[in-house]
Amino acid sequence: MTPILELRGITKRFPGVLANDSIDLTLEKGEIHALLGENGAGKTTLMNILYGLYDPDEGEVFIQGEKAKIESPTDAIEQGIGMVHQHFMLIPVFTVTENVMLGEEAVKAGGILDRALAAGDIRTISEKYHLEVPPEAYIKDLPVGVQQRVEIIKLLYRKADILIFDEPTAVLTPQEADELFKIMRSLTEQGKSIIFITHKLREVLDVADRITVIRRGKVIGTTTPQDANQAKLAEMMVGREVDLELERSELKAGDPVLTVNDLVVADDRNQIAVDGVSFEVRAGEVLGIAGVQGNGQTELVETVTGLRHPMEGDIRILGSDVTHAAPRQITESGVAHVPEDRQRDGLILSFPVVDNLALQTYYMPPNAKGVVLQEEQMMQTAEKMIEDFDIRTPGPMTSVGSLSGGNQQKVIVAREFSRPIKLLVASQPTRGLDVGSIEYIHNRILEKRDNGCAVLLVSPELDEVMQLSDRIAVMYRGKILAILDSAEARKEQVGLLMAGITSEVQSG
């Protein structure tokens, strides 16, 4: 059977980088084909070529055996290719119908929009593919999982046969992700073909029919879930053996380092983001806060690190009240912070590595004598940190913006971990990182824990929270619904809590 889609010898060069190196890929009709690779491996570039956003330097695309010319997303859509992007392209103040119609409006005579006709078509698609959406609802009122369904309907409305999903589960709870996989299977049963881009090993084994691994722009191999396991896939992605099992040594918890009482915090729009939260983190333990992003975790972390002031409640670090302390005060009392947006908050991209490594300590000895910066001293310290933390950079004077995501994160980790710290606040510490970097960062966090540091970990990646934490707190709509011992917590239970479904509702 001719594959519905074939990419032959696709090569794409950017200045200084060979993003795609003679890539061959086939997609059979009705299959879910996963494209697995680290960040920077070239998967998104490849899909952007398929979707008409880039022109390949070499290579050809064949659809149903015929050579295809795709010079823009319009061409791609006309030929039946559709893409659900990681960041949705929906207009929050329009309804579902209006968003789906946009660009392909159904009109009555005289150019008047025919919303009813479109809504009817949407309902037909909904029923056929089990994609329940309320056509009259406004996007901004819908949960993320439903918004994603609207994105899928947009493609089906335009008669796409080949659907590309780019990191679709990045914004979903575990339950929503399972729903999505059911939808994907139902779509393929109805004859659609799916390419599924991801870097998450477990998902790939759950849902894919075939898996192609890309590394540094080249196809390393194609395999099936039957023939591969997580370890093998990780090895293909990274090029060496990766230890996926984290060994967490026995918990030796000491006194509480961080105590938060009845904290109430407002966000930038003066809405209550943190609604009466209390918890403590003891020395030598990891408290992980699980929850989908947007439930108050960001504001909570900002308040603990002094970047935001609470409306009510108090925060104590080692007994001292730091509720309204300045960020520098808190840092100087032995707190390290790995921020969730490393490029916006953690680094100055245009500055060299050495300056970024000294960002928290530039003003005090030995980096400064009086008013004058001690550049030689800063360079020496930087070189040591680069070695200790294995930061891959041409040198300390390279601007940090040209490092890869993993190495940028290592700069932050090196900076924060090289101080004597009693509390580590790590917010999404492995966001956007490849398997190798993730392994590294997780090990360093556990190392700190074993050395008696208290760790507050915030992450929407449930696997990460469960692997690293001794206790797990689940945050939903600004409240902590439960704090569980990680030994006893089950993934399904936590997943339900993340969606706001407490045990009373579960059992009742």
Partner: protein, 425 residues
């Protein structure tokens, strides 16, 4: 929408401002690094000169007359016009080589001085640019767009003139620093106000500094027709400052070269030391490059903003003080030929680095000085310099144009960064 990333929301204005921000990434050390950072400014100036030449050709009667007579006479006219204009520019700004050589050969002191006067006058013209350019550069490095240099410069002139003429009987070694400090103070106050407004209310400094300019102009008009007016004159001009407040002139009239030039160089060095060698400068630059990260690193954005605007204003104030104490020896209306506004283009040309500012100031001062002679000799209006500056500014604000025309590649792409690949691969 799922995630609201503050950093991703940018409007067209912010994208333009980003292009104007100093290029702080160090791509290479030593000579290669210097060439990379100077490459685009040099090409921008060159392109500016070419475009101005085209403008001169297109507006020259001789050229049209020449082409009327034929292709040959036409091209000869083009050549002559360009050579005459740029020749006059050169001679007016740096001196005529022939005159210099013959003066040196004759050994006559007066002749030598006359031969070098154009060059010395260029230095005099450059001096206020250095101060004003430093003011803008300091602002840019701290993330602030100080469009109020002109107004701050006026306040500096007012304060220093007042100290200059109202205090008598004080030796120069005290009077001059006092008057300079007064000028810096005046500018600092005028910079502090919009800085404070930005820090406390978020009011953008571009708007507020422009408004403050107008207030400064009207204030000086009122002062010069009232409290600060010279008693025995109908003109809006202040009394002449005390001789002890005048900046030392190295030669006799009509050569105006004065100590202000060296003071400017010293201040430029101090600005360099402050920005790049002290922890305060690190603070300013961090806030300018990424205020979010600076906040996370514990820096106080409010304090930094206010201090940076005040310091920037102080530097601008010194520009005004320089003109009063070194050149005019009094304060009059329209003493400033738009230094404040030219300084913005200048700071951009110099990549907001003190060394670049000094070089760019020398260029601008030289051009302005030469344009006066060019106007006398060829009749080309002095506004051609404004055109030249505008073209340079345009090319700096859109380096992509220069890169496309001269087929340069962005420096980042010339390095094969193995680190662009992910770790562990």
């Amino acid at each position: 929408m799922t995630e609201e990333k503050k950093s991703n929301e940018k409007n067209a204005g912010q994208i333009l401002l980003e292009e104007l921000e100093p290029n702080t990434g160090q791509k290479a050390r030593g000579f290669k690094g210097f060439w990379l950072s100077i490459r685009i400014p040099i090409l921008a100036v060159f392109s500016g000169l070419v475009l101005s030449a085209i403008l001169i050709i297109l507006t020259s009667e001789d050229v049209y007359a020449g082409f009327g007579a034929g292709l040959g006479p036409g091209f000869r006219a083009v050549w002559n016009v360009v050579v005459d204009s740029y020749g006059a520019l050169f001679a007016g700004s740096l001196g005529s080589p022939a005159q210099i050589v013959s003066a040196l050969q004759s050994g006559d002191g007066l002749a030598i001085r006359r031969a070098f006067n154009p060059f010395l006058e260029s230095l005099v013209a450059s001096t206020p640019y250095i101060f004003a350019g430093l003011a803008v550069a300091l602002g840019f490095r701290s993330g602030l767009f100080n469009i109020g240099v002109e107004g701050q410069l006026f306040l500096g002139a007012i304060f220093s003139a007042f100290v200059g003429y109202s205090i008598t009987g004080v030796p120069a070694i005290i009077h001059i620093p006092l008057a300079l400090l007064a000028g810096a103070l005046g500018g600092a106050i005028w910079g502090f106000i919009p800085g404070w407004l930005k820090a406390k209310t978020g009011g953008h400094e571009v708007i507020n500094t422009i408004m403050m300019n107008y207030i400064a102009f009207r204030l000086s008009e009122w002062l010069l027709t009232g409290p600060m007016k010279r008693p025995d004159s109908y003109n809006p001009i202040s009394p002449t400052i005390s001789e002890n407040a005048m900046l030392y002139r190295f030669f006799q009239d009509p050569i105006r070269f004065h100590a202000g030039f060296f003071i400017a160089l010293a201040v430029a060095w101090a600005a360099y030391w402050f920005l790049f060698k002290t922890k305060w400068g690190f603070n300013f630059r961090s806030v300018g490059a990424n205020p979010n990260a600076a906040r996370y690193a514990g820096m106080n954005i409010t304090t930094t903003t206010v201090l940076a605007m005040a310091l920037s204003g102080a530097l601008a104030g010194l520009a005004g003080a320089n003109e009063v104490l070194g050149v005019n020896h009094n304060l009059a209306l329209a003493f400033s030929s738009g230094y404040g506004f030219d300084s913005i283009a200048l700071a951009l040309l110099g990549n907001s680095h003190p060394l670049g500012v000094v070089l760019a100031s020398l260029l601008f001062g030289t051009l302005r000085n030469g344009a006066t002679k060019m106007m006398v000799v060829t009749g080309i209006p002095i506004d051609i310099i404004s055109v030249l500056q505008a073209v340079i500014l345009m090319f700096i604000a859109a380096p992509a144009i220069i890169r496309t025309i001269y087929r340069l590649r962005k420096p980042k792409d010339e390095e094969e960064d193995s680190t662009l690949q992910s770790f562990g691969g």
